[in-house]
Amino acid sequence: MTPFNRRDFLRIGGAAVSLTFLAPRLVLSDAGSNGRILVILQLVGGNDSVNTVIPYADPKYRQWRPLLAIPDAEILKVDSRLGLHPSMGALAELYQRRRFAFVNNVGFPTLDRSHFHCQDVWQTADENHAGAHGRHSSGWLGRYADLYLGHEAHSLTALSIGNRVPLGMAAETVIPAAITSAATYQIQTDPRTPGGREPWLAAIRGSYEHGSMGHAHGDLDAIRMSGAEMFESIDLLETIPPPSETAGYPDSSLGRGFQLVSQVLAANLGTRVVWISTGGYDTHSTQGGMHANLLADLSGSLAAFQADLEQRRLDDRVVVMGWSEFGRRVQENASSGTDHGKAGTMFLMGNHVKGGAFYGEVPDLGTLDQGDLPTQIDFRSVYWTLIDDWLGHDPEPVLMGRYENLGFIGEPDPVARRRAVRR
């Protein structure tokens, strides 16, 4: 297929061919791509990494956290120094199966405890232009998609679960569809519409496919593009298989979100990058039970997703990367919570993740930066490794700099190859 630029295509769309005609051909064509998929999981609010991946052998842990420290007997120990929160049993099991890994002490030089600044930096991978008052227009994953997926792109090449397209996916040409649920991703028409539903839909769809050449307004072009993406993605979404009944997703928006991701991936439409977010991690007060519930939801959703992918024989094609904008203060505060901190923990899940291991040092609670864990690994090293070794592209034009390859991607461990059978 001749490479073409999606934006150019949409501009000329009305003149020659319509998206309706072209979309099925695009989705059948995976040629030239390795078929690998990256799923980004954002924990919004700043996850308390110290109580997630717990340096339990450090005596300072209990000194800093007289109320919030997890009792030693309950910690799911993965190592002589580190253990997972008791809510994360399913992920501890995946860790044993070498499908799950984490990266300690991740941050960046200008971490400043601000949600806005830090979220923007993680999403743009650009410290100079991020921040509430220097809004950056392109996200790191958006730049990746524009550079390496533009030639094959359609409306589900990039997918955002939810009602927003995150800054991290903001792109010039590979515009993600934003989908909350497959069941509601349908245009409703008035049953009294003369001529029925189809002529009405054809009329409105046609209006979005007109070339807007001659229109001076850039925003109008962008709205047309999003509209064309919407109509195309509605059609594509009709082809997805039903949800798994046996994977064991939690009945939560995160669980339902991952369930939808697996359905879309199973349809083999050429989806390459996915973003899914979950909130509630800004645990300033009475953190204990709340954080346990969040981690249970996280652990259950991720493990169900992996099981679902295994059942669908997609597990060799997907890696999940989890992140949060900062870690939290090591010392608990006066209201049984934790305040904004600095470095935190990232997660990696997938057959090709060299799991059952952690990357970076065990956090040292005796060497803090203003009460916070200092950064030892730049988050862009994780992005670098994923783009370089998993997606198989040159990361430098995406990240606008060179970062360390952390070496956490490899061939699936044959010992752990047996698939979990869940009935």
Binding site: G14, H115, F116, A132, H133, S155, S160, G162, N163, R164, V165, I175, P176, A177, A178, I179, T180, Y185, Q186, I187, Q188, T189, D190, R192, T193, P194, G195, P199, W200, A203, I204, G206, S207, Y208, H210, S212, G214, H215, H217, D219, L220, A222, I223, R224, S226, G227, E229, M230, S233, I234
Partner: protein, 434 residues
């Protein structure tokens, strides 16, 4: 003024920005009365009788002690007010002094702040800022109620300067600290649940703020900041961008800042100056913003003159798109422009339009017009729901949908065709602009 072409296009633009969209009758009246009189009708709204709105609110059986109750109360005000600029400015000021019920928790306090914003919608911004510094919702939202001289909390002092009065970069870290110290002791009485000043925890030391030194308190800090040129420029810029368009030329803002400063921080005079400026009616302004979810939800109801109570349905579509009044995402308020547009939000807008147009009366939309064929029907609807320009191909599609042979829908089909046509128009890319 000579460069302003005062026609239906300009009049409808005024109503979209200063209100939430005009009915055809409002547009016609504005064209007849002229630009300055139309702006005066919007700006000097106190004399306009709004008792019909109050009666409607009374009938709506709203529980003001719940979050859903106050949300519906405000959405109904926006939908049915006879004083559209009052609600537009209340909403703009809410976005400016963005406070979220998510943290404040108390619907009574949120409603109290809303009534304060409405009282000062076109009032003296210096006085409003002094009042909002004593507003319980704000004191909780930005933690100032916890601020005492031994442990001052910078949250309010910083956002007051950065987001409310001066803008990033127009003050120093020392100014933040001085403002913070000046507001120590501004707190909430446990007994009355209202503002109280506690002298014992107020910092009476000398403070240097924007170059002036004294034992300043919170009111002094607001007055000093509001007298500055930086504030006049900041406020003129923010209001112009909110009402007209982004990234205006400096000379436009310079003039407006003068008007505002010379009037003693009168929002009424600033807004009047914006709404009567050449720039406001230029091609850079008309249809040049993206409708926010609130713009979209309210304008649909107003322009189609939907009766009844669409507030619950509007609340759900606003939650879906992420713009629930009383619940901004953070102290910086809501995003704007294309941040509101993606495949999912457009789908939500089209489905909202399905329900709104299904409840509409096409005989009201086309009232008084002579419609002899499909082309005339499309022209009348595009005019009444805009007036809005669409590409030639789009117009042809709409006409083809109304009638393949260019005639009129059959007898008895007019109402259903009219609703479907209105649904098409509200779903167009062009209609997502404001």
């Amino acid at each position: 003024m000579a460069s302003i072409v005062w026609d239906r296009r300009a009049a409808a633009h005024l109503y979209r920005r200063a209100g939430f969209g005009a009915t055809p009758e409002e547009t016609d009246r504005a064209v007849d009365e002229g630009m300055e009189a139309s702006v005066a009708r919007l700006v000097d709204y106190e004399s306009i009788d709004d008792s019909a709105l109050e009666q409607r609110l009374a009938r709506a059986r709203i529980d003001p002690t719940t979050f859903v109750g106050i949300l519906r109360w405000w959405l109904l005000r926006m939908m049915y007010t006879a004083r559209p600029l009052e609600e537009r400015m209340t909403f703009l000021l809410h976005d400016h002094f963005a406070t979220s019920a998510f943290k404040v928790q108390d619907p009574g306090w949120m409603l109290q702040q809303n009534e304060l914003l409405r009282r000062y919608a076109l009032g003296d911004l210096t006085e409003l800022t002094i009042e909002i510094s004593r507003d319980p919702a704000m004191l909780v939202w930005l933690d100032n109620y916890l601020s005492r001289k031994e442990h001052p909390n910078e949250n309010y002092g910083r956002e007051l300067l950065e987001l409310f009065l001066l803008g990033h970069g127009a003050y120093s870290e020392q100014d933040v600290m001085s403002a913070t110290r000046a507001f120590t002791g501004w707190t909430i009485s446990r007994r009355t649940r209202q503002f109280t000043f506690i002298d014992a925890i107020h910092d009476h030391g000398q403070k240097t703020f924007l170059g002036q030194t004294g034992d300043w308190n919170g009111d002094d800090v607001v007055r000093i900041a509001c007298e500055s040129d930086a504030h006049a420029h900041f406020m003129a810029h923010k209001m112009f961008e909110s009402l007209a368009y982004a990234n205006p030329d400096e000379h436009v803002i310079h003039q407006l800042a003068h008007v505002y400063h010379d009037s003693g921080t009168s929002m009424r005079e600033l807004v009047r100056a914006i709404l009567t400026s050449d720039a406001f009616y230029s091609d850079a302004a008309i249809w040049a913003k993206v409708k926010s979810p609130v713009d979209h939800a309210i304008a649909s109801v107003r322009q189609l003159r939907i009766d009844g109570d669409p507030s619950r349905f509007a609340a759900s579509i606003l939650a879906y798109q992420g713009q629930v009044p009383f619940n901004p995402p953070d102290v910086d308020g809501w995003p704007s422009g294309l941040a509101w547009i993606n495949s999912g939000t457009l789908l939500g807008r089209m489905n909202y339009a399905t329900a709104v147009t299904a409840a509409s009366d096409p005989f009201v939309i086309g009232a008084g017009a002579t419609i002899g064929n499909a082309a005339e029907m499309v022209s009348v609807f595009l005019d009444r729901l805009g007036p809005i320009d669409v590409p030639h191909e789009t117009r042809a599609r709409l006409e083809g949908w109304v009638s393949p042979d260019g005639g009129l829908p059959g007898a008895g089909e007019y109402a259903a065709t009219g609703r479907g046509l209105a649904h098409l128009i509200l779903s167009l890319a062009e209609w997502q602009l404001n």
